[in-house]
Every structure is written in structure tokens, then in C-alpha cells.
């Protein structure tokens, strides 16, 4: 079954989607979309590092993403305006990364594959890495769920209940970095934030509790993967962007229905 590249693409997409949905809810709730971007863009720098030291891309990307995530989250609240800091980090790491990739690789390599993903070229080995990473992220989020949720709702309430908001922020930060590292092959560094935010945002109008929103986000993300792959197959469009386009479509429909329902209610 795994011999079919389309099957492997589906499985890879589902793995990323299942983890990105619930994790993306925290990105939406905490309003840290830009933070996700900075972490994802650092992945390109990680690609350059992997090329320069001829090591596995996943390791290099993971190291760069974790380093960026921890650096930004440590620097936050130190006087610099957060959006400015993230703007510098995000675009800086992307630009420096692209330059570094060009310098590091002896032959011309296809940078686009890292920017937009190459889901149709996923190997069995990639699948193992993607599912391993996604399972780790999902497991982390489920395990820390009550503390993460309380710290996200209100740092003050969290402290009152003996939960350290700083520690929970670090947990989220690392989870995002891991997801970025394993999903760069699926949707690429430029679109992974989309997979975090859009399904979660699409789930919001129909969710009354955080748990339902996380589950709905995962479902919408999986549906986007299926529909995006099908559309890409049928119309021969680039796959990563097609998946994100379908997610945007789900978001638009969900928001319209949500607005209609509010009007009716």
C-alpha cells in the first residue's frame, strides 16, 4: 500500500493535519501567528545548516526552529515591541537562510521544495519521521492540556493554580518547532503557519468549548489535505498551496455560516 506515492502523500498530510489542528488552536488563542512564521522561516536556515554539515535535514531544521522559538520567546517582554522583534526574526531568518542555502550547496538545489513542500515525493522514511513528530506533538498537547489551557486563558489564574505560565509557553514553543521540522516536506516553511491557523480559525464559529474547537480543527485540517490532494491531482496544481487553498475555502464557508447563524439566532 505504501508503494503508492499518493497514499504516502495522504498519510503524510493526515499526520501533519492531526497535530496542526489542536496545536494551531493555541496559536490562534494566544495570537502568536507571527511567532509561528518566525519559527517556520528559521527552518530554511536549518536547511542551509544541514547542507553545510551534510546531515539530515530534519535534525538541522529542528535545531534551527527550536533555537529560534526559544530565542524569540525568551526575548519577548524585554522592552522590544513584539511584532517588530518577530518581523526582524522572521524575515531575517528567511533571507539569511536563502542566502546560506545558496552558499552552502555546491550544486543548485531546489529551494522551492523547502518553501512550499514536496508532499508527492514523501518517502517511507519521511513518513516515519512525520508520524513520529506529529505523535510527539499531539501527545505533548494532550498531556499538558489542562495546564496549557489555563495558562492560555489567563497567566494570573494559572499562577494561582500552581501552574507556571512560562513553562507552558516553552512547551508550546517546542511543540511548534517540532511540527515545523517534520512538516517542511509536506507544506513547506512558508505555508506551515497556514496549516496551524486556518483550520483552527475555521473551527472557531462552531465550537462551544476548547476541546471541540481542537477536534474540529484537526478534522478540517485532514479534510483540507484530502481535498487539496484531489484538486492538485485533478487540475495539476502545486500540492502544498492547493491544500492551503482548500483550508481557506473551508474557513470562508465556516465564517459565512457562522455569521448567518448569528443573524438567525
Amino acid at each position: 500500500m505504501l508503494d503508492d506515492f499518493l497514499t504516502r502523500a495522504c498519510l503524510a498530510g493526515i499526520g501533519v493535519a492531526l497535530a496542526a489542528g489542536p496545536l494551531g488552536c493555541f496559536v490562534v488563542w494566544r495570537r502568536i501567528a507571527y511567532f509561528g512564521d518566525a519559527t517556520a522561516h528559521a527552518a530554511i536556515l536549518g536547511v542551509a545548516i544541514s547542507l553545510a554539515f551534510s546531515m539530515s535535514t530534519v535534525i538541522g531544521v529542528l535545531a534551527a526552529a527550536v533555537a529560534m522559538a526559544v530565542a524569540v520567546s525568551t526575548l519577548s517582554g524585554r522592552g522590544l515591541a513584539m511584532d517588530t522583534l518577530l518581523g526582524v526574526a522572521s524575515h531575517g531568518s528567511l533571507a539569511v537562510g536563502l542566502v546560506a542555502v545558496a552558499v552552502a550547496s555546491p550544486r543548485a538545489i531546489d529551494v522551492e521544495a523547502y518553501l512550499f513542500g514536496e508532499i508527492l515525493a514523501v518517502t517511507r522514511g519521511d513518513l516515519a519521521v512525520i508520524w513520529g513528530g506529529a505523535a510527539a506533538v499531539l501527545g505533548l498537547v494532550v498531556w499538558r492540556w489542562p495546564a496549557l489551557l489555563t495558562a492560555t486563558l489567563s497567566p494570573e489564574l494559572a499562577r494561582g493554580g500552581g501552574i507556571s505560565p512560562e513553562r507552558e509557553q516553552l512547551v508550546l514553543t517546542i511543540a511548534i518547532a517540532v511540527l515545523v521540522a517534520v512538516s517542511i516536506k509536506v507544506v513547506g516553511a512558508l505555508l506551515i503557519t497556514a496549516m496551524l491557523i486556518i483550520p483552527a480559525a475555521a473551527a472557531r464559529p462552531f465550537s462551544g468549548t476548547p476541546e471541540r474547537m481542537a477536534a474540529a480543527a484537526a478534522l478540517i485540517a485532514v479534510a483540507s489535505v484530502f481535498a487539496g490532494l484531489a484538486a492538485s491531482w485533478r487540475w495539476d496544481t502545486p500540492t502544498g498551496p492547493s491544500i492551503v487553498t482548500l483550508a481557506v475555502l473551508f474557513f470562508a464557508v465556516s465564517c459565512s455560516l457562522g455569521a448567518l447563524r448569528r443573524k438567525a439566532g
Binding site: P146, E156, I163, S207, T209, P210, R212
Partner: protein
């Protein structure tokens, strides 16, 4: 029975001394209100009492096994996070539906369990927060500006509720307010704070004390000298 006490408590926030040499105690069944202008260290005092900030000097003494219900100031919930009142009350600990219903009953809002937190009015929101604090079955309630953002009737109703909760549960209450006049009927004792304790005593005595009026800019500094240490006004100064 003494629930909590501070002895010579000083707290430093950065380079600034936020609290200096604070002595206070709260007994079971009494309501104590800390009043003071903005930046007078009221919230810092509550946070030092629960151990969220470490004292620079002095110490905090808690009765053994003391359970505290804490309602923090300025709780803002983001509307991107959907959460019902019942789910909010279950956060952080497993609660039975029965105890949640009872807590909401106790604070006068039993009908809100299925509502979204972000759809509540200011008064409803504060009552839900109070219900959350009650779920811990506290011996001591610490309320930081529990009536913030409410209109005068709303404030009065909330303070009546705090009194009723104290009567029924028999807990001690230490709350923070910046408006003594509204809280006057609902409190047994008032502590006027501005970094140090300016004066303390029954509400009527404190509100008429020169120290208190000066603290809020209602009296000339000179008046202080004449009123200091006059036992008949019932307000004891600590200077």
C-alpha cells in the same frame, strides 16, 4: 482563629519598595478591606500573601492547611477561545457537575452554566470568578477589586453577596478596593494602604480619619498632625 498574618512584610518590585513593614491579620469570619490609591501596593500585598512574590523582609504566616480562594484582578479572556462557564469552572481540577451547580447557585447565577464566558456581563463575570474561588472550599477568600467595572448598584450587590458568602461559608475575606464609600457597609475592618499602612480600623473611623482623607487628597497635610494618635476616632495609625 487567625487565618493569615503578615509580620513586618516588605516587598521590593525591581528597584522600588512596593510595601514596607506591613503588619496585618485576618481572622475566620471577618471581612477586611484594603483601600488605597492606584499604585499603593494593594495587588502586590495580595500576591505576597499567596506567595506569588517573595518578601524582601518580614514573613507571611498561614494557618496550617489553609485553603485560599483567589480572584485576581483584570481577568481578560480572549474571544478566540470558546469556553462555557461550566468548562471554565472545571479548569485545572476535576469538579463534579453538582459542585459547579452549587457554586453558581451560591453566587446567584445558577442559569449561566452553559453560557460562553465572553458573553457575560461584568457583574456576571465577577460572580463566576467568585464561584470559581468558592470551588476550592476556601478558608480565606482573597478578592482583588471584585467589583471592578461595575456600576454602583452592581457594586453594592456584589459586596452584599460577598457578605452573604462569608455568613454561609464562615470563611475569612480579604479584599482590595479603591472606593471605601461603596465597600463601607460590607466590611468589618478597613486598612488604608499606600506602601505602608496609613491607618486601620472600622470603616466609619477610617473614612473620617485625617490620614485616610489625606491619602486620597481630601485633606491638607497639616491636618494629620492634629489627628494622629487620637484614640477617640478609633483609627489606629502605625507610624
Amino acid at each position: 482563629m487567625r487565618l493569615i498574618a503578615a509580620h513586618g512584610l516588605s516587598v521590593r518590585l525591581g528597584a522600588q519598595l512596593a510595601l514596607h513593614d506591613i503588619d496585618l491579620a485576618v481572622e475566620r469570619g471577618e471581612i477586611v478591606t484594603v483601600v488605597g490609591p492606584n499604585g499603593s501596593g494593594k495587588t502586590t500585598l495580595l500576591r505576597a500573601l499567596v506567595g506569588a512574590v517573595a518578601p524582601a523582609a518580614g514573613r507571611v504566616e498561614q494557618a496550617p492547611g489553609l485553603r485560599i480562594g483567589y480572584v485576581p484582578q483584570r481577568l481578560h479572556l480572549d474571544s478566540t477561545l470558546p469556553i462555557t462557564v461550566a468548562r471554565f469552572l472545571r479548569l485545572g481540577a476535576r469538579r463534579r457537575n453538582g459542585s459547579i451547580a452549587r457554586a453558581l447557585e451560591e453566587t446567584g447565577v445558577p442559569e449561566l452554566a452553559k453560557r460562553q464566558m465572553t458573553a457575560l456581563s461584568g457583574g456576571q463575570f465577577q460572580r463566576v470568578l467568585l464561584a470559581r474561588a468558592l470551588l476550592a472550599e476556601p478558608d480565606l477568600l482573597l478578592l482583588d477589586e471584585p467589583a471592578q467595572g461595575l456600576d454602583h448598584p452592581g457594586m453594592a450587590a456584589l459586596y452584599r453577596l460577598v457578605g452573604a458568602v462569608r455568613d454561609r461559608q464562615g470563611c475569612g475575606v480579604l479584599m482590595v478596593s479603591h472606593d471605601l464609600h461603596v465597600v463601607m457597609g460590607a466590611t468589618d475592618r478597613v486598612i488604608a494602604l499606600n506602601g505602608v499602612i496609613w491607618c486601620e480600623g472600622p470603616p466609619v473611623a477610617v473614612s473620617s480619619a485625617a490620614e485616610y482623607r489625606m491619602l486620597f487628597g481630601e485633606a491638607e497635610p497639616g491636618a494629620l498632625a492634629f489627628n494622629r494618635h487620637t484614640p477617640e476616632d478609633g483609627c489606629s495609625t502605625t507610624s
